[in-house]
Structure formats: structure tokens, C-alpha cells
């Protein structure tokens, strides 16, 4: 450690060991402990809860007596709690996830521990991921494909299952390609055609013949899709639920089968990695309670990038103006106070402004001049990712201005004067000497702004975030970039799933995982900023004189 001033090393080292006031000092120490514990505890909680949502547990098969009847229930224990009933007797309850929403209705069940007669973990229980109704928990029975039926006991079962999963994935991909892209293209063309016809640039006869052609193309594609469906419909997975009921999963809907109870540690790690990967890259399913969060990640990243694209130049220019060009007087002082204040203005106020100004004022004007043929359907006059980015750019502007100003003022006077003495103009001195020296500081500001922007949700609720966006703001459909589209956001995903979801219990794992992801994103950005700042401090510590 380099030797700094005495105060920095051990404050009040010479004061001795007096007793007076010591308890108060310990109270302040407890305050710090509590603060740090809260921060670390929260990170730890999210880390554990988020991580646990990916960890494959063991499936319990329980014999439960309910009202005198014995029932077999298989599932994961998700929660344990105590409850006092009306007579004051304590009950230990467990919540189990038994899946099979299609036959059970509810995926979760609460069981009194006292009612459990026997609990085992048979190897034959499988966790079956599928497109609809959430996962199924069944004993494997057989596979059916075009060649016939393969029992679970047969050695061909595993290879056949693998082929079936692969075939299903290929079929889903092809169907998606046909239905979303090619049929979508036809419907867009039809829409454009009817607009052109309305405006008179295409005459009715050409339009009619074109329409007929598109209709034929559409029918051809539909036939293709039907063929793929028929092919895949021949295969299916058969299982038996714990209570003996049959569960059939069509080949096209089967996403994966995991032997929860047979898998060893390595297998479970593998499954966890697989789940994390799926979570990051998949689209959401089942009202967002299943599948991944890829569109939300994409939306958050794009919005934050566009935001920083706007906030950086404007923030830096304003800071340079305030620090280097404006005459330092009462006016600049007031502006500075106001800019600092702006950082403390509630984010929802920025959202309100963004809605009124960007969406309903600027957006409506753009629609009137450029997209009048689509009116009354608004194009830009409705919340979208571009407006969201601009709103957040405004929100984070003070962060960049303050950071840049600090960085500029930290550049030693001598350096600046040296440049001027060499004959550089004011702008040249700023451009060649001052800006490069303050670049890390500016970067810190931008990264902090990005961290703030990425975690902000309240204003987005007003200017463009939605629970489920049908398409991404950047895709392979011309003109490729769609700044007017609504988007999904990790933060809003948490709010929506946690508080607006029809099945909040089932959504919990995804919410914790999303929270973990968002926190990792924000903390990484912050740590980067802090690291840059620390390096910067060292550099200036050397160069100051």
C-alpha cells in the first residue's frame, strides 16, 4: 500500500482506548454491517433463487391419504411452510409441482406432511418438456412412430426418442419458416397492395390478378405446412402419470425428456447448462411462464444501445459547453444545479413526458407527414422502442453530463495550457488533449447511464414496453430495423410475470431467473464503470502536480 496522508490509514489512531461513547460507535458499526449485509444478502438471495430455478431436482412419488382415500402424487417439492389453522394447531405443508396441467388443471398442489404415507423416488419417472400445458411428470411407457411402437424397456427406445426430438425440432423450424416468414410476407404484400389500390397507383385489374396469384401461393404454402404436420403427427410419446392416467405428447410438441431421478451429478449439471442455454435463447411460451426470455434480452440490449447512442453525444456536448465554453457565472451555476436536480427527478415523470411529447406529439406529426396512408392506424404515434430509447436518453442525460464535467475538470490545467501554448486553438486543445484525457471518465458516465437505463422500468411502461411482442425490433424483414415496434424488456418481464401472470406460482422460477439475469447485467455494467474509474484515478494521481 502506498503511504497516503495519516488520516487515510488509521483514523484517530492516537485517541486511545476511552470507554465513553464506545457503545454508540458500536451502534454505527452495526449500521454499516446491516447496510453491507443487506446489499450482499440481496445479491446472494437472487443468486440462489435464480440459480435454483435452473437446477433439476428429484421427483418424489408420494402416497397421500386425502379424506380417507389414498392417492399417488408425483412431483417436485417447491416450498415448505407452516400454517396455523382455526384451532391454533400447527400444520407443516409442502407445495409440490406435479405438472400435467392438461389432466390435473392445477400444476401445484399443497399437501399436509402428516398425510403423506410413503415417499419414494422411482427411476422410471420422467420430466417431459412440451410446448403446451407446461411440463408433464410421467412414467415413460412407449414411443409411437411410423415404424410402430417401441416400449420403454426396449434398447431402441433412447435412440428413437433422440430421433423423434430432432425430427420435431426440424419440423417446428420449417413450420415457423413457412407460417411466420413466407405467409407473413404474403399478407404484408396484400396489405401494401390494397393501400396502393386505394391511393390509385395500381389499377384494379392488376391488383386483382396479383391478389389471385398471392392467394394461390398462400394455398400452396398451407398445403406444405399441412404435409409437415401430418408427417410429424404420426409419432408421439406415451407416458403414464403417477395416478395411472395416460399422457400422450405429440411428436411436434415434445421438447425434451429428462430422467430426473436417474441422472447423476454430471447429468444434472448438463441439464442445468442446457436449461440456462434454453432460457437465454428461446422465445417465451405459455403466457411467458415457460420457455426463454430471448426477446426480452434482445429488447433490453437494443434499447440500451440506442439510448447510449443518443445520450453520449448530447451529454458530452452539453458538458463541454458548460465547462469549456460558457462563461462561468450565475447562469451556468443555475443550469448546473438544475442538471444535478434532473438526476433526482422521478423516472416516471420522464415517462409521462416521453408519452406526451415523443409519442403523442412528435410521433403523431411523423405519422401525418410520412405515414398518412396508414392512418388512422398509427405507425410512430404509438409507443415503441425508439421513443423508449429517447425517453431513457433524456433520463440518463444528467448522469453523462455530470460525469463528463467531472472528467473535464479533472484534466490538469497545465496540460491544457501546454496545448494552447503550442499554438492550438481552443477546439484543437479540447479535441486533441482534453477529450482523450477525459475519455475514461466519459466512458464511466456512459456505462453508468447504461446501467441506470437498463434497470429502469417505470417510464417504459408508458412509452413502449409490452408483455409479448410478436416480432423483434430488428429482423430479416425489410427494412430490417423497425424503430416503431413495441418491445419486451427484462425488467418489465419481471413485473408482468410476477404480478399480472395468470399462473404466478408457475412463473416464479422464470421471474427469479430473469431477475438474476437483469442484476448480472446491471452489476457487470456498474463494475466495469467502477474499474475504469479506479484506473482513471490512478492515472491522474500520477499526472497531477
Amino acid at each position: 500500500m502506498n503511504a497516503g496522508p495519516t488520516r487515510e490509514t488509521t483514523p484517530f489512531a492516537t485517541t486511545g482506548r476511552s470507554r465513553r461513547g464506545e457503545p454508540c460507535i458500536w451502534l454505527t458499526a452495526a449500521g454499516l454491517t446491516l447496510g453491507v449485509a443487506m446489499a450482499l444478502g440481496l445479491f446472494l438471495l437472487i443468486l440462489i433463487k435464480g440459480g435454483a430455478s435452473f437446477w433439476p431436482g428429484r421427483i418424489d412419488l408420494m402416497e397421500v391419504s386425502i379424506d380417507g382415500k389414498t392417492e399417488l402424487i408425483a412431483g417436485y417439492v417447491t416450498q415448505e411452510s407452516e400454517r396455523r389453522d382455526g384451532k391454533g394447531i400447527l400444520h407443516e405443508e409442502i407445495q409440490i409441482f406435479r405438472g400435467n396441467k392438461d389432466i390435473n388443471g392445477e400444476a401445484f398442489k399443497y399437501i399436509d406432511r402428516a398425510h403423506i404415507l410413503k415417499s419414494t423416488r422411482p427411476d422410471s419417472l420422467l420430466l417431459v418438456e412440451r410446448i403446451e400445458f407446461g411440463p408433464a411428470i410421467v412414467h415413460g411407457v412407449a414411443l409411437e412412430n411410423s415404424q410402430g411402437r417401441i416400449e420403454v424397456s426396449s434398447p431402441e427406445f433412447k435412440p428413437a426418442l433422440k430421433t423423434m426430438l430432432k425430427q420435431g425440432a426440424v419440423a417446428r423450424d420449417r413450420l415457423l419458416g413457412i407460417e411466420r416468414k413466407r405467409i407473413g410476407a404474403i399478407s404484408r404484400e396484400l396489405e401494401a397492395l390494397s393501400r396502393a389500390e386505394k391511393s390509385g397507383s395500381v389499377d384494379t385489374r392488376t391488383a386483382a390478378s396479383r391478389r389471385e396469384m398471392l392467394q394461390k401461393k398462400f394455398e400452396r404454402l398451407q398445403a406444405q405446412a399441412a404435409e409437415i404436420r401430418a408427417e410429424i403427427a404420426k409419432s408421439s410419446f406415451l407416458g403414464r402419470a403417477a395416478d395411472g392416467r395416460e399422457v400422450t405428447v405429440a411428436g411436434a410438441a415434445l421438447l425434451g425428456v429428462f430422467e430426473s431421478n436417474r441422472a447423476g451429478f454430471a447429468g444434472r449439471i448438463g441439464e442445468m447448462t442446457h436449461r440456462i442455454w434454453k432460457f437465454l435463447k428461446d422465445d417465451p411460451r405459455e403466457a411467458n411462464t415457460e420457455g426463454g426470455v430471448f426477446p426480452a434480452i434482445f429488447g433490453t440490449v437494443i434499447m440500451t444501445l440506442v439510448m447510449s447512442l443518443f445520450v453520449t453525444p448530447f451529454g458530452v456536448i452539453t458538458a463541454i459547453y458548460l465547462r469549456e465554453y460558457a462563461r462561468q457565472g450565475w447562469f451556468v451555476r443555475i443550469v448546473r444545479v438544475c442538471v444535478n436536480n434532473l438526476a433526482g427527478v422521478p423516472s416516471i415523470v420522464f415517462g409521462v413526458f416521453g408519452l406526451a411529447f415523443f409519442v403523442y406529439f412528435v410521433g403523431a406529426k411523423i405519422d401525418q407527414t410520412l405515414f398518412s396512408d396508414k392512418l388512422p392506424t398509427p405507425t410512430y404515434g404509438t409507443p415503441g422502442i425508439f421513443w423508449a430509447s429517447l425517453t431513457l436518453a433524456l433520463l440518463t442525460l444528467p448522469v453523462v453530463i455530470v460525469a463528463t464535467e467531472e472528467a473535464l475538470s479533472a484534466v490538469p490545467r497545465g496540460v491544457r495550457e501546454a496545448a494552447l501554448a503550442c499554438g492550438a486553438s481552443k477546439w484543437q486543445a479540447i479535441q486533441r488533449v482534453v477529450l482523450p484525457a477525459s475519455l475514461p471518465g466519459i466512458l464511466t458516465g456512459v456505462i453508468l447511464a447504461m446501467a441506470r437505463g437498463a434497470g429502469e422500468v417505470a417510464p417504459l411502461m408508458l412509452v413502449g414496453v409490452v408483455k409479448l411482442a410478436p416480432s423483434l425490433p430488428i429482423d430479416d424483414i425489410a427494412p430490417f430495423i423497425h424503430p416503431e415496434r413495441k418491445f419486451m424488456h427484462l425488467g418489465f418481464h419481471i413485473y408482468d410475470l410476477g404480478f399480472q401472470s395468470p399462473d404466478a406460482e408457475a412463473a416464479k422460477p422464470i421471474v427469479y431467473a430473469t431477475a438474476l439475469l437483469l442484476i448480472v447485467l446491471v452489476v457487470t455494467l456498474n463494475l466495469t464503470a467502477i474499474l475504469i474509474r479506479n484506473r482513471l484515478k490512478k492515472r491522474f494521481a500520477v499526472s497531477s502536480f
Binding site: R7, L34, I519
Partner: protein, 730 residues
């Protein structure tokens, strides 16, 4: 390049301030009064006893009690007459008009009562223009069995299913009043037939000469104004017709005018001397019957004839005497517009959309005026004052912006929301301030630098935690966790600080040889096990305390249950909710503590070393240095930290949305929720129609929020700058 930077910089600063201009511009229309402008004049019938108009205000009709209805097109002054059906040559002796259904009710000389409906149909021709086609439809007649002579007053109430007619026969002391209940007999096919269910004579129950009759638009009430100043209230429901109340609005002065307002539960009365009041139906006690009571007093009118026309889309009404008319709003009691006409009107009518009114004089001249009043329910009184809403038993602060039915009365008081914001902030600060300040003092005064380098960034990162994560944890993890553990939380907040003090007390009495093994500044590590122990003790003491103190006695079974959730409502008389202020305060701590900590820590660290060193040199021990030098010198910095913390807490949105339950109540109860300004905007603005009163009121909420934080932040900033200057001098 210089000019580019200059103009760019100025442009950004200007556009930032443009924000406030723009938000303010959205709010201003709320505080404008109505604009009324004359848009036409025309001649009507000589004595327009009934004046009605279509919903677009374009084709008024005039009816003088004769056998013809005259329609007049405003656009081209075309006149059209339609004969009143079913009169058979009899003379009409009484008539009344119901603008909601455009129904003219009639009483005949032979004691029959009935009505006809005026209808308009808008037809669009090919070239985009439209014409309005008027029609008159007859309704069934009913012969009165009671009373004698001609019908002298009539009123018709219609809610579609249930209808009621009130009629008076004869004049003066011999007048009789009957109430007729009508019902639709629904056939298997067709619309069904209107038939008389019963006719009840109520003259004996009046006690004085009947002057005015009004049947309510919901077809369930009849009011009769009497010569002795009383008003008798009859309820006509499926059980029959019964008198419920006689109230005296003007202490003996009899009413000159009496009309129901939109919604049909409030009535506006004007006395002979010009006093105008609103009486509305409400339950006075908890389970009493709904009775009429005085709820509002409007500015006094002049003497003479009273003009009255109620709006059919909100609670505004046009009223006046002589040439002086005014548009008033019942909810806020505000006068929206006042002015004198150039004719002496005998009747006036508002169109259904509230965009025009037409007034007609006795000589047959009529004037048409346009009304521009997009936000009649707004105003200072409505936003910040106590308002007596319909159905309520007293004036209250209430926020309820939307309702289920068309005749819903919006309740736009911002006070519950401001209260919610302040309550949420207070709960957050009560927990955050002690923790943050204690931590800041320790960190600035005692913490070794190398540890401080780690601790400060940790706190900074905590401050950038997305509040949506905190809110989610508060609502879905902490709230259910603490719901059953309130006594434990109470015990922990009590035990933990005591434990810290006790540890210090014991520690400084340990021998120095032992204490010296630990460096000063490591107290915050040493205290961890003791705090953990204390926390555990507090947590496990909770149930014990609960079983001792918080025992709820179940009234039904007589069982005694130790449960704070049940005990609290019984003991305090206020509710217990899962998402309560306790949970909120704790979770807000994560957002507020780092803010206060960072700024307070900076202020404390920046106290010049010469001061602290001087104190130490004079023999102060380390706590004395903190107490007598560090804290007083940095006090304004600490104060500014508190204010910034306040600003952060008051504007916090996502935690408030997710952890407070969002009920706009004003109750200082630690165990229920609230609705804050910020949460209110986030929840309601996406659904508010652009430009509506609701939309603009939410903007006003944003302005209030902005003003609160901006004021606090500016004050904090100025304090901080003063502190900086002062420390420079030292």
C-alpha cells in the same frame, strides 16, 4: 467547431427545460373555465314551453303544449311540423320534458296522462353530408282513477325496465297527487307491452299543497315539493309506493325549481328567494336507509323565473334567473361560466354531448350558444379540496378515476395519492435514515481506507439495483414471509440495536490487552456474530410475544388464537394487509440507504482533517470527535443527503406499484398499503384516453411529484454548495 458545441449545448439545455414546459402545457387546460360563444339566433314559436334538442345541437324542437311539435334546422332555418299523435282533440293541460329520453310527458283535461318521444336519425348521403330526420312516437295513455278535474302537473321517470309517472289533478288545496308504476310485460316475441302495475294516491301523506312533481330518471323515486317548504320523497319499487322522508331544504321557503341531476341520485333545488342547493341520497349511518340530505350550496341566483337544464353526460347544469345564466358543476360546486344573454329566456336546454345550449325567450326568439368545456370536473377544489360526492355522507378526499357505469362520478382528489406518497416515503425513511447515517458515520470516521474502497462500491452498486427486482422481492417474497412474522420483526428491530450497544458496552470493559488484538475500525466485523445472535433471538422471541400479547378471541367459537394478523384489526380497528408499509419500508431501504449513505459519507469524509485532528489533540476521544466536530460540521451535508433520499423515495415507482397494494386510502396504519402518485401514473396512464380529464389529471400528478422532488433537490444542492464553500474557507 466552437459554435457547434455552443449551439448544441444550449439546445440540449433548452430542450431539457422544454420538458417542463410541455408537461405544464398538458396540465393547464384543467384550470380553464368554460368558453361560451353565441353561434346563432332564430325565431321559434311564440311560447316555447318545451325546448329540446338532438345530441348534436343542430335541430331543436319547440313545443308549446298544443298539438304540434315544431322542428327547426339550425343550418338552413328549415321548419318542420309534426303532429302530436293520439290527442283526439283533447286539450293538454300539463306537460313536462325529460331531456335524457327526449320524452315529453302530457296530462289531458280528461285526467289522462301519457307521453310522446322525439327521435332523431342521422342519415348520411353519398357525398359525405348528413341530414337529420326527426320523428315523434306516441306512447300509451293511462287514465287516472283518483282525483278529479284536469291534470295540472306531470312527470315521467324511465329507466327502461321500471317506469313511474307522477301526476297532479286539480289546483290549490283540493289538488291530488297520484303515482303510477308502469311495467313492461315481456311477450315471447316483440318488444313487450307497457302496462299499468298500480296507481297510488299519495295526497294524504303530503300534508301541504303540492307545487312541483319530479320523477327520477331511474324510475324509482318521486319528489313532491310542497307549499309549506317541504319536499316529500316517495320510493316506487317492486314493493309498491311508499313515503320515505320529508325534508325542508330552505327552512319554510318553498322551492321554485326542483330537478334531478345526471345519475338520478342528486336533486338541485332553488328557493323562491334564489338560494340554490343540492340534496342527494346517502346513508347517514352505517346501515341506515338512503335518505336525502343537503350536500351542497351553490351561489345564490337572482329573483324571478329560474332556468334549469341538466347535462346528460356529466354533472354540469345550466341555471340562472332573468338574463343571467351560469354553467355550474355539481361535484366541485364550481361555476364554470357566467354571463348575461341578450334575450330574456324562459327556457333553455343543453344538448346530449354538452357542446351547445339553446335558450328561448317568451317572444319566440331563440339563441344558440356553443360551450367549450372539456374538463368541467377539474379545478383546485376537485384536486385538493374535500368534496362531497354523490352517495357519500360527508365531504372526503377520494381518488377513483374510473367507474363501471356511464353515470359514474369521477373522484379526482390528489390528496390520497400525495398522502400515499408521503406515507410510503416516511416508512422508507424511518428505516433507511438510521441505518444509512450510522453506516456513513462509521465508514467516514473509523473504517480503514482499504475496506472503504470495497464497501463504497458495494453500496453504489446496491443503489443501481433495478427497483423492479426490489419490488418483486417485496411483493412476492418478503410480504408472504413477514405476513405471519410481524411480532418477530418488531422484536428484531428492538433487540438488534440494543445488542450492538450492549456489545460496545461490554467490549470497552474488556482488558486492553485483549482489545488491542483487534484493530480499531474492525468493530463492524466483530459485531457480526452478536448481531446474528440478537437477530435470531429476536426472531424466535416473536411467536412467544405473539402468544402473550397478541391473542385474538374469535367471537364465533370463543377460541383464543395467538395471531397478530387477527389481533391488529380487532385492537386497532384498522385492517391488516399482506402488502403493507412494513414490507415496503424495508424494501425501499435497499433503494434509499445507498443514496443517503453515499452523500452523507462524502460530506463526513470531506470535513477538513485539521478540525478533527484539533479536537483529538485537545483530548477528545473518538466518539467525542465524531459528536462534537464531525457531525456538526457536516450537518448541512447530512441534511442534504436526507433530502436527496426523500426525493428518491417519493419518486420511486416500481417498488410502490408492486409492494403497496395500490389502494388509495388515507390511513396512518403501518399494516396496510397505500397508492402513491408515481404508482398511480404508472398504473393508470397507459389506459387513460389522450386529452381527457383523467389523462391531464395524471399529468398534474406528475407535476406535483416533480415539484416535490425538484424543490427538495434544489434545496439539497444549495445546502451542499454552501457546505463546500464553508469547508473551503476552513
Amino acid at each position: 467547431m466552437g459554435w457547434l458545441i455552443r449551439s448544441g449545448g444550449v439546445a440540449v439545455i433548452l430542450s431539457v427545460f422544454g420538458i417542463f414546459y410541455f408537461v405544464g402545457k398538458e396540465v393547464l387546460p384543467l384550470f380553464r373555465s368554460a368558453d361560451v360563444a353565441p353561434v346563432g339566433k332564430f325565431d321559434a314559436l311564440a311560447v316555447p314551453a318545451v325546448l329540446g334538442v338532438d345530441e348534436w345541437g343542430e335541430m331543436p324542437f319547440f313545443y308549446d303544449g298544443g298539438d304540434k311539435v315544431v322542428f327547426l334546422s339550425v343550418a338552413d332555418a328549415a321548419r318542420r311540423e309534426i303532429e302530436v299523435p293520439g290527442l283526439a282533440g283533447l286539450k293538454i293541460t300539463a306537460h313536462a320534458f325529460d331531456p335524457v329520453h327526449l320524452r315529453v310527458s302530457l296530462g289531458l283535461e280528461d285526467g289522462r296522462v301519457g307521453s310522446f318521444l322525439v327521435g332523431y336519425e342521422r342519415k348520411f348521403s353519398g357525398d359525405g353530408k348528413s341530414i337529420i330526420e326527426p320523428a315523434v312516437t306516441a306512447e300509451p295513455w293511462f287514465s287516472l282513477k283518483h282525483g278529479e278535474g284536469a291534470v295540472t302537473a306531470v312527470s315521467y321517470g324511465d329507466s327502461g325496465a321500471g317506469r313511474v309517472i307522477a301526476a297532479r289533478r286539480g289546483e290549490g288545496a283540493v289538488a291530488t297527487v297520484s303515482v303510477l308504476r308502469l311495467g313492461m310485460k315481456r311477450g315471447l316475441v316483440g318488444k313487450g307491452k307497457l302496462s299499468l302495475l298500480e296507481e297510488v294516491e299519495v295526497t294524504k301523506e303530503l300534508g301541504a299543497e303540492p307545487l312541483l312533481l319530479r320523477a327520477s330518471q331511474n324510475g324509482a323515486m318521486v319528489l313532491v315539493a310542497l307549499a309549506d317548504g317541504g319536499v316529500a320523497y316517495f320510493l316506487a319499487d317492486s314493493q309498491g309506493v311508499s313515503k320515505r322522508q320529508t325534508f325542508r331544504p330552505f327552512d319554510g321557503v318553498s322551492p321554485r325549481q326542483m330537478d334531478f341531476l345526471f345519475g338520478g341520485v342528486a336533486v338541485v333545488l332553488t328557493a323562491m328567494d334564489g338560494r340554490q342547493e343540492q340534496w342527494s341520497l346517502f346513508r347517514a349511518g352505517r346501515d341506515g336507509e338512503r335518505m336525502f340530505g343537503e350536500s351542497k350550496v351553490f351561489p345564490q341566483l337572482g329573483e324571478g323565473r329560474v332556468i334549469f337544464a341538466a347535462s346528460q353526460r356529466n354533472r354540469t347544469f345550466l341555471t340562472g334567473s332573468g338574463r343571467d345564466l351560469s354553467i355550474r358543476h355539481s361535484t366541485s360546486g364550481a361555476v364554470r361560466w357566467e354571463g348575461a344573454l341578450d334575450i330574456d329566456p324562459v327556457t333553455a336546454v343543453l344538448d346530449a354531448k354538452g357542446g351547445h345550449f339553446i335558450a328561448a325567450a317568451a317572444d319566440g326568439t331563440a339563441r344558440r350558444y356553443s360551450i367549450h368545456d372539456p374538463h368541467p370536473e377539474a379545478g383546485w377544489r376537485a384536486f385538493f379540496g374535500k368534496v362531497w360526492y354523490e352517495g357519500g355522507s360527508e365531504p372526503v378526499y377520494q381518488w377513483q378515476s374510473t367507474g363501471g357505469s356511464d353515470d359514474f362520478e369521477p373522484k379526482l382528489s390528489l390528496i390520497p395519492l400525495i398522502f400515499g406518497s408521503l406515507k410510503g416515503t416516511a416508512c422508507a425513511l424511518i428505516f433507511s435514515i438510521p441505518v444509512a447515517l450510522l453506516a456513513a458515520v462509521f465508514s467516514a470516521a473509523f473504517l480503514p481506507l482499504e475496506i472503504k474502497r470495497v464497501v463504497k462500491p458495494v453500496m453504489e452498486i446496491m443503489s443501481s439495483l433495478p427497483s423492479v427486482v426490489l419490488g418483486f422481492l417485496a411483493g412476492l417474497w418478503l410480504a408472504p414471509l413477514l405476513e405471519t412474522r410481524v411480532p418477530s420483526v418488531m422484536m428484531m428491530t428492538l433487540v438488534v440495536p440494543l445488542a450492538a450497544l450492549a456489545t460496545g458496552y461490554v467490549w470497552c470493559r474488556l482488558p486492553n490487552s485483549f482489545r488491542n488484538r483487534f484493530a480499531q475500525g474492525s468493530e463492524w466485523i466483530i459485531v457480526i456474530p452478536f448481531l446474528a445472535l440478537a437477530g435470531w433471538i429476536g426472531w424466535s422471541l416473536g411467536p412467544v410475544i405473539e402468544s402473550l400479547l397478541f391473542v385474538h378471541k374469535d367471537a364465533a367459537t370463543g377460541n383464543e388464537i395467538a395471531d397478530f394478523r387477527l389481533w391488529w384489526p380487532q385492537a386497532a380497528g384498522i385492517s391488516f394487509e399482506q402488502r403493507n408499509s412494513l414490507v415496503l419500508g424495508f424494501m425501499m431501504g435497499f433503494a434509499v440507504i445507498p443514496v443517503i449513505f453515499t452523500i452523507a459519507e462524502d460530506a463526513l469524509s470531506n470535513v477538513p482533517e485539521s478540525l478533527t485532528a484539533a479536537a483529538a489533540a485537545l483530548g477528545a476521544n473518538r466518539w467525542q470527535v465524531v459528536r462534537t466536530v464531525l457531525l456538526p460540521v457536516a450537518s448541512s451535508g447530512i441534511f442534504s443527503a436526507l433530502m436527496i433520499g426523500f426525493g428518491r423515495a417519493v419518486g420511486e415507482t416500481m417498488i410502490m406499484v408492486m409492494a403497496t397494494g395500490n389502494t388509495p386510502i388515507t390511513e396512518w396504519n403501518l399494516f396496510n398499503g397505500m397508492r402513491t402518485l408515481s404508482a398511480n401514473i404508472a398504473v393508470e396512464l397507459p389506459e387513460a384516453p389522450v386529452g381527457s380529464t383523467h389523462y391531464r389529471t395524471l399529468f398534474l400528478g406528475a407535476v406535483v411529484l416533480f415539484a416535490m422532488t425538484f424543490f427538495m433537490n434544489t434545496a439539497a444542492e444549495l445546502l451542499r454548495q454552501r457546505l463546500r464553500d464553508r469547508n473551503k474557507l476552513v
